[in-house]
Amino acid sequence: MRIAHDVYAETNPAFCASALVEFTKTYASVRPDGPETPAAYLALPIALSGELASTFTGTNKNTGLLEWLERSPQVQVGLAKRVNASLDIVTEAIRFGCFTQLLIFGEGAFLRLGDKKLKPSAISALGDEPAQTIKRAGRLGHWFATAGSTRTVFDMMGITA
């Protein structure tokens, strides 16, 4: 299947990788080990979704995952389908992140920040919409980390691996 150009622009590996970097960064700020890879597969589709963007309004990093899910139940409608549909995109993003050394696929399937850093200017050069996506990824990183282990996060979202 050929991805139409504009969809590809929304989901290109470089962009998704930078969202993942943000996710990993905020996650590691709470739990230094960094997120387990499956958590990334859960977070990225939600961050990328324009449809769920509105659920993030009025939240901050202290809102917490459970409270957010309680406020916006629509997140859980068809979540598994959403995640399953974007597995490839996330894998591509992890791959790209590892090749460009932004991310390290570390011991025990943990994701860590790599040696290279993203230029802040690159992010700020993005339009408002993509910048928001990155921000959402960061917020999810924080929530996931404060919620507990990957298992707890999956549990709260009502899905299993």
Partner: protein
């Protein structure tokens, strides 16, 4: 269905200490001890971890511990609910922790708690675990009366010292007027006289009935307007015919044809010099298209939400939801023997390690998550929000349509001002005015009334107020029967010997039907603390037995705070544990033994029922009692709920 029991209640100290009190599920558990050792604090701790608004833990506990937690178990599903204890002088804390799964380790410190969240979200979490669905009451009723929450479960769990032999308060929490109302309103739900599905049906039914009324009123007014409309339309057409704009009208044509003819006349091209800006119309039409797209998107969401709702409530609400599964393992090809790195697909040792690590992570997620969520109550709210949004969009759509029409009318005007026959133009104006007046809004396809009526009929068949009443009565009858059975086995004095109990959920109240005379006695007429104690014990066990038979979303837990109260009235506050071992037995001790026998036999009989007995008396000569005693906090042993050597916290 396994019922929730408590496995552990634990307190965390300032510097990594942890005090656990462990209980056996499905059994009678006894805690004995001197007064002031924290026996009743256990009830407060459970209540606090069920999201009570105030922290009622006594000061000496709050001075030494920083968090409290309760581990619930149901089969192999586990749930740990924790909450931060506020320092003395602060009313409460809103930080709670919730996690579910299998083999959950108890946290050592506050930081190890999983699932930090707020009290509100935690309550919703517990409700889902217990299976308490969201019963939306009358939308226009003040606040959410009748919405069952986890806070309305506590009357059936705790028989506290205020209640256990009270002659006025039947259940824990009913002594507080502001809470009692809601507890009573939620009772039919817990007695299974109503359930989520029927509540949702009821709401839908009300909506549809309103819609039907509206549609019918519209149809009536349309019918009334039709004749007058036809009259005027014919007039205009004849006029148009006179000045050569149209053919002569057929008199028996239906209204729609007449209107269509008028429209075509109205659109007669007349030369004009100036037209309003075309761009505006384009913009309006664009906006209109956007709105239509939005509406259809929202409809899709609504559909998805409804499907999710149906799934959540479709299986009588009691069936476990299977969790949705992610295809991660298949996606990363972890099922086979991984030869390559799942991420970069290069064959390497590191890659193999990574694959292994990923596999263990996923296995852990799969093995330890338990499907405890059943009903997604909030979806109902979401559903309503979506409907409102669609309504809003429809209103905007109408507004846009109006604007488009106005625009067209303006161009009409310019045409009229062009020097074509004034008369014609005038007539056209009149026609367009008439069209506007008669077709007040773009004729939306009216709802098919017969479909609506069919839907209503179906819902009415399902929602049956009388059936609800009958169900409630049956529930009361069964509880009365259970309570009477238990009552016989308990020690009582006249007038209660051999009497039956009758429970009503309206007040709620229990009346005693005397044997022989059949006299109906209200509680105050009964007298004697012994009788009140027996009535409370019988009722609480009867309710629990009923909950078990109907799979009500109430945990199988009953906490009794000192049944010896009427028999050994405490003289002072500083009473030590009273040890009883077979010397001379007075009546009181015999009566107590009868109670203990009942507790053991009843708990053994009911599957999934766990009883916590907090007691002053210790029956050293009863092996069952000795075996069931989990903790003894006597003066001699110096033990207590919170060890006395715990350091105080430094934040007061």
């Amino acid at each position: 269905m396994t019922r929730w029991n408590i496995a552990t209640i634990f307190f965390l100290g300032v510097s990594g200490q942890r005090r656990e009190v462990t209980f056996a599920a499905d059994e009678l558990n006894i805690i004995t001890g001197a007064s002031g050792t924290g026996k009743s604090t256990l009830i407060k701790a459970i209540d606090y971890c069920l999201g009570s608004s105030k922290c009622e833990l006594p000061a000496h506990v709050r001075r030494r511990s920083i968090a409290v937690g309760v581990k619930w178990v149901a089969g192999d599903a586990e749930m740990i609910i924790g909450r931060v204890i506020p320092p003395v002088g602060q009313a409460t804390s809103t930080r709670m922790f919730t996690s579910t799964g299998r083999n959950l380790p108890l946290p050592e410190t506050v930081d190890e708690f999983e699932g930090t969240t707020t009290v509100e979200a935690a309550k919703a979490f517990i409700e889902r675990a217990f299976g308490i669905g969201d019963v939306i009451s009358e939308p226009d009723a003040a606040a959410a009366r009748g919405r069952a929450t986890v806070r309305h479960v506590t009357p059936y769990l705790f028989v506290t010292k205020e209640v256990i032999y009270s002659e006025s308060t039947l259940l824990h929490g009913l002594e507080k007027a502001d809470k009692a109302r809601d507890i009573i309103a939620a009772m039919p739900y817990f007695l299974r006289a109503t359930d989520e599905a029927s509540a949702i049906d009821e709401r839908r039914l009300r909506q549809l009935q309103r819609a039907l009324e509206k549609e019918e009123a519209k149809a009536r007014s349309r019918a009334a307007a039709e004749t007058a409309l036809k009259q005027r339309a014919t007039n205009l057409l004849t006029e148009a015919h006179r000045i050569g704009l149209a053919k002569s009208p057929s008199l028996d044509a239906p209204e729609a044809t007449l209107l269509a003819e008028l429209k075509t006349i109205g659109e007669t091209p007349l030369q004009a010099n100036t037209y309003p800006d075309e761009g505006e119309l384009g913009a309006l039409n664009r906006r209109r298209r956007e709105i239509l797209a939005e509406v259809s998107a929202l409809r899709r969401h609504l559909q998805a939400t409804r499907t999710a709702l149906r799934e959540a409530t479709g299986f009588q609400g009691a069936v476990l939801r299977q969790r949705d599964k992610l295809m991660l393992a298949e996606h990363l090809h972890l099922d086979g023997i991984a030869e390559v790195c799942p991420v970069c697909e290069a064959p390497s040792e590191r890659g193999r390690e990574a694959a292994r690590a990923l596999r263990t992570t996923l296995t852990k997620v799969r093995a330890e998550s338990v499907a405890v969520e059943r009903v997604r109550p909030r979806l109902v709210e979401h559903d309503r929000a979506l409907e409102e949004e669609i309504g809003q969009l429809n209103i905007e759509l109408r507004r846009i349509d109006d604007q488009i029409q106005t625009w067209l009318r303006q161009s009409e005007e310019t045409r009229r001002l062009a020097d074509l026959g004034q008369l014609r133009a005038h007539l056209l104006g009149r026609i367009s005015f008439f069209l506007e007046a008669s077709v007040d809004e773009p004729r939306q396809a009216t709802r098919d009334l017969s479909v609506l009526r069919a839907e209503i009929a179906e819902l009415e068949a399902r929602v049956d107020k009388e059936a609800k009443e009958i169900k409630l009565r049956r529930a009361e009858a069964r509880i009365s029967q259970f309570a009477s059975e238990a009552f016989v086995a308990l020690p009582t004095v006249a007038p209660c010997i051999g009497s039956e109990l009758d429970f009503s959920s309206r007040q709620p109240e229990v009346t005693v039907i005397e044997e022989e005379s059949g006299a109906v006695l209200r509680l105050p007429d009964v007298g004697s603390d012994q009788n009140y104690l027996a009535i409370h014990i019988a009722l609480s066990f009867a309710l629990q037995r009923y909950f078990q038979t109907v799979n009500a979303p109430v945990p199988g837990l009953l906490v009794l705070d000192q049944i010896s109260r009427p028999y050994f009235p405490t003289s002072g506050e500083d009473e030590d544990e009273a040890e009883i071992s077979g010397d001379e037995e007075d009546e009181d001790v015999q009566a107590m033994r009868k109670h203990i026998d009942f507790l053991f036999s009843e708990t053994a009989r009911r599957k999934g029922l766990q009883v916590l007995l907090i007691e002053h008396a210790y029956f050293a000569d009863d092996p069952r009692y000795v075996n069931a005693t989990r903790e003894r906090w006597t003066r001699a042993s110096g033990q207590a709920l919170i060890p006395l050597n715990w350091p105080a916290r430094g934040d007061e």
